[in-house]
């Protein structure tokens, strides 16, 4: 155990910090759930890609830096420290990219990876269906092979970023006689293909953060399939697997939230009467710090060849409830002003805590509800009966 950074690691940190100091937009971008904000964020992805900072763990040949997990953590720390924009491209670079590198053909990699990395082609994700949420294997949408094409019919829902994205990656039932996890394939569909209809779904803040996608005899070439036919479940599971799950929620994000919360508390301390706030602020620091330490420990273990599986469910439960707790605490500190939208003249310096609070409500739901995660912890980690 050595909890000091190496000179190389410190140099990387310094380099990232400098680059971000130069490049991070002075004004916050608009929400990427608006048309204009989406394009601003797409531009930021391009800037990142030009500096080879788009996805530091990717191999150099794909515009990455071949960073290991500790280096990635350092990058993330600096990224959140700098207040850099959220990653509109996360479906592509965190979820699809690594999967494509593992399962894609040479042609697929060539066709998709660079365009994805540069922000030129943005990706939405298409797993869930109205009847297949927590029960993802209940997928019913079909992609029926006709010669060198698949003909797609059905419906996806909760597809993040789909309103403004260019492509969606989905799993469809390619064997109509199959059931559950069998007979599914992993297929890419351009969102402007004939027969595709995207219906935006507004989230709690009123912005269309996700969408329903309807497929009506949509035709895509067989070359749009990733991996073998009817092997889609296994590929999708690896996409949803640990290492990317870890990357979807890097600890730096929560550490910065905890830091802002502590600052908010310092600032308002004399007015705060709520008897639970002091304890909650201490717990917020502890939680964010624990999540960071745990991630460093996991990263160290993985770098030494360790494996990790159902433990990811512990992380999911922890960060999502920590995020709720921190935002609830912030609203308690703000008191009656907490309900005001940031642009309200009387809002003062309420900041974006309300928005963060709304977003935090989704944490225990998406990427597998916390109820499902707790089942996994009990059954797979602790070995309790099903």
């Amino acid at each position: 155990m050595d909890l000091n950074y190496t000179p190389e690691q410190n140099a990387l940190r310094e380099e990232v910090r400098q680059w971000l100091a130069d490049k991070v937009p002075a004004q916050p971008l608009q929400s990427f759930d608006t048309k204009e904000g989406f394009e601003q964020h797409r531009q930021w992805e391009k800037t990142l890609a030009e500096g080879n900072w788009g996805m530091v763990t990717w191999p150099v040949e794909y515009g990455g830096r071949g960073c290991d997990l500790i280096q990635w953590l350092i990058f993330e720390e600096e990224y959140y420290r700098a207040g850099a924009p959220l990653r509109v491209n996360q479906n592509g670079i965190f979820l699809l990219g690594p999967t494509l590198m593992e399962y894609g053909t040479a042609q697929q990699k060539e066709r998709f990876i660079n365009a994805m990395a540069s922000g030129e082609e943005m990706w939405a994700q298409g797993w869930s269906e109205p009847g297949a949420g927590s029960d993802m294997a209940a997928i019913r949408s079909t992609a029926i092979r006709e010669g060198e094409e698949y003909v797609i019919n059905g419906q996806k829902i909760w597809s993040t970023r789909a309103v403004f994205a260019d492509w969606v990656f989905c799993i469809f039932r390619t064997d109509p006689a199959s059931s559950r996890h069998q007979g599914l394939s992993f297929i890419f569909v351009p969102l402007d293909a004939p027969g595709v209809t995207v219906r935006p779904i507004a989230q709690l803040d009123g912005l269309p953060g996700f969408a329903e996608i309807f497929f009506d005899d949509v035709r895509v070439p067989v070359a749009n399939r990733l991996g073998e036919e009817n092997q889609g479940w296994r590929i999708a599971m690896s996409t949803a697997g640990f290492e990317r799950g870890l990357m979807l929620r890097s600890p730096a994000r929560f550490q910065q939230t905890a830091k802002r919360l502590v600052e908010l508390y310092r600032q308002h301390r004399d007015e705060v009467l709520d008897l639970s706030v002091a304890d909650a602020v201490v717990k917020a620091y502890m939680g964010a710090q624990a999540y960071a330490l745990s991630t460093y420990q996991t990263a160290s273990k993985l770098m030494k060849g360790g494996k990790i599986g159902a433990e990811a469910s512990l992380n999911k439960v922890f960060w999502s409830e920590l995020d709720q707790q921190m935002h609830e605490t912030a609203l308690s500190i703000l008191g009656a002003r907490a309900e005001l939208l940031p642009h309200a003249p009387a809002a003062g310096a309420v900041g974006n805590w309300l928005d963060g609070f709304l977003f935090a409500q989704s944490g225990p739901i998406y990427a597998g509800t916390n109820e499902i995660q707790r089942n996994i912890i009990a059954e797979r980690l602790l070995g309790m009966p099903r």
Binding site: D135, Q203, L331, A344, I365
Partner: protein, 362 residues
Amino acid sequence: MDFTFTEDQQLLADSVATFLHREVTPERIRASWEGEGSDTRLWQQLVELGLPAMLVPEEHGGLGMNELDFIQIAQECGRVALAEPLVEMAMIATPMLAQLAAGSQPCARVLQQIAAGEARVAIGHPLNPAVADAGIADWLLLASGREVHLVPSDAATLIRQDSVDPSRRLYTPEWDRTAPTYRVAGEEAGAAAWCAALNRGAVLNAALLLGLAQGMVAQSVTYAGDREQFGRPIGANQAVKHHMANCAVQAEFARSPIYRAAYAVAQDPARAHIAASHAKLAAGEAALLAAKNAIQVHGAMGYTWECNLHIWAKRAWALEKNWGDAGFHQERLHAWLLEDTTDIGAEHTFDYPAPEALDSAA
């Protein structure tokens, strides 16, 4: 000792509940989000039911009822997430006007107008950062220091303050604080009036919050019974059941404190502060838990704008922090419990603390 509502109170509450559940649909609430927001026809219906006149004293043309008569109605308003400004006006502003009417002709006149269904009054308590529904009010009850000003709404400049809850139409007012005609209570009487208003506001909001909590639980139970995953309704999962059971426990043990506090503000308002703070805290917790668990049980659907749940959840988040946030009411209880002279324990369930502890509220 009888801790039940009278048959008349219950009948009235039931009939208003029936009306509200029939008329106040989510569609109608959503429609009211357009424009300045009031649903004129709905307001007229509420007037016809006599609700705004309930707490206007008989000598001013009203029904001379009290907060206890109204409390279950407030709860039902929460249950349907009524967006109209009935409750603040009928149970907070109206008794405040009545309190001041003996020494103030303008207050007496406005009470007559309320009783006749001809005027609406919005109230700006110093603890709240904005005035709800000032945009559709005819009169504003405002604080200048501790003075109470009664200002015609067209004499005030209203600055819109958007809330997370689109049903809450908030404004900060600016007016000529030096105009002598507005002043309906000076520093001393004003302090007492604002203090009493705060207690009523806390109790009333507690009832709204309890109703909101119950409304969210009801929607979630229905949803969990309909929505299937893994071949059975999600509500058959014990974790989902227990989320809802936890909400039910919290709501149940907010209910009696609210009714007791409503009794206190009606019967002995000068000694109602501890009961009021208890009610508000308990109901606030119940509502926050219900919002959280209801969203969780709804899954991704609960995170959308199109699902009606957020109408309730956002109201709960907003109201929980108005009329004294949790810290304000905790601090009152905490300070009171720390006094050596405070008697609690089994034989003191229905004691009312002495009024001197009220100071902190103004």
